[in-house]
Amino acid sequence: MNASTEHPMVRFEGVTKRYGALTVLDDLNLEIKRGEKVAIIGPSGSGKTTVLRMLMTLERIDGGVIWVDGEPMTHMPKNGGMVPAEPKHLRRVRSKIGMVFQHFNLFPHMTALGNCIEAPMTVLGLPRREAEERAAELLNMVGLAEKKGHYPAQLSGGQQQRVAIARALAMRPKVMLFDEVTSALDPELCGEVLQVIRKLGSEHDLTMLMVTHQMGFAKEFADRVCFFYQGKICEQGVPKELFVAPKNERTQQFLRAVLEAV
């Protein structure tokens, strides 16, 4: 039995999401293997951010099932069928997912260290000392060891985002979601964040899903790129193929427009 018959880490099965009359995700089927790094690109309104948000349970699902690590997350098995998941079940499965946001969302009333130990202590019940050790290690990994006593207001955007990454990692997720994490940063600060993500990718066996406009980064870092258009995957493939020789016309249009803007 080789690893590829193992169940996917994340599976979207016929997932649909609607806002009123607008269908944002349309019967989406997407599988992500353990340890795979997937970049999601597309124009605004294509549903790409919604994919992440639904996986993080920030949005409710309107149709289909989302599976995480072989188990259904949005639903649970009962009496031979699937029913919407109860909060306890949802929380348990959700604990395998971590997310980094475009606008960081750090807790302003806590220091960098405080941000990173809060959830491990409150949610996982870790004793303070252990949580602090873990947090210090992670802050060190993202290059902010000496800033651990600083408040978010005292940090630059790039530093805040790196703290946000450390904070998410402190919960030891199996899947990390990155929602346009450099879009709110000044250009010269993007590099330090992308560098951390690169490091994460090479040193850890994390499954990573990122929505991004950084085409260059996606090209060298991702194992697979998905181009979303109007709620569906228009085209997906290995970056070398998709970026260099896109098969679909919409993909070509999009890439042309994006690369022109550079």
Partner: protein, 242 residues
Amino acid sequence: MGIFSLSAMLVAALIVIGIMSLFGDNALFMSGLLQGAWLTLQVTALGCVLAVVMATLAALLRLYGAAPLRWLAVTYVEFFRGTSALVQLFWLFFVLPLFGISMEPFTVAVLGLGLNIGAYGAEVVRGAIQGIQKGQWEATTALNMTRWQALKRIILPQAFVAMIPPWGNLFIELLKSTALVSLITMSDLTFRAKTINDTTMQTIPIFTLALLIYLVMSLSITIGMRWLERASLRGMVRGRGH
């Protein structure tokens, strides 16, 4: 007005009170007025505590409670905001005894004013909690916190800071409302001023002194709340877009 101007006014008021007390019978008046001021302070302090408790309870019920509790909170808030504080006090003082519930004026005062200001406070608390950016809630979801953990550790501490200035205003409203208890026979500062005036007819110094004492108390509250706000901000810069 900045903390500096406010403190200047406070000091100026204290100086004027001090100087006035040197003349005529004013020192005598002051002793009577200060006794009344002490009662005013007590009612204010206890009333404020009750108001904060009621406001927090009502706001949380309104935001997160089951339907009947929500309804209860809304009724409480609309009722006490919709009626006049004096009418509420009179009702508690004159009408409630008819139903067999007899309370001391002091209890009536604290209860009536605390419930009244608490209703306004409920909207302040609710506004502050709802004003916390959605991103903070989403971060707590991403970290797998329960709603209660999120409220307790992340949302309420931030809301607290946002609430301080409006609560400051409400505490001052409560202080000013205590003057109403003079109309239900309590010997507060206003009552003392009025009775001393009735007997001595030295209207100007008496009421001026009373006004100045209220001013001192009110400015103290304002300055106190500014300090509290500063202390709570410690490292946080309020209003950052992130």
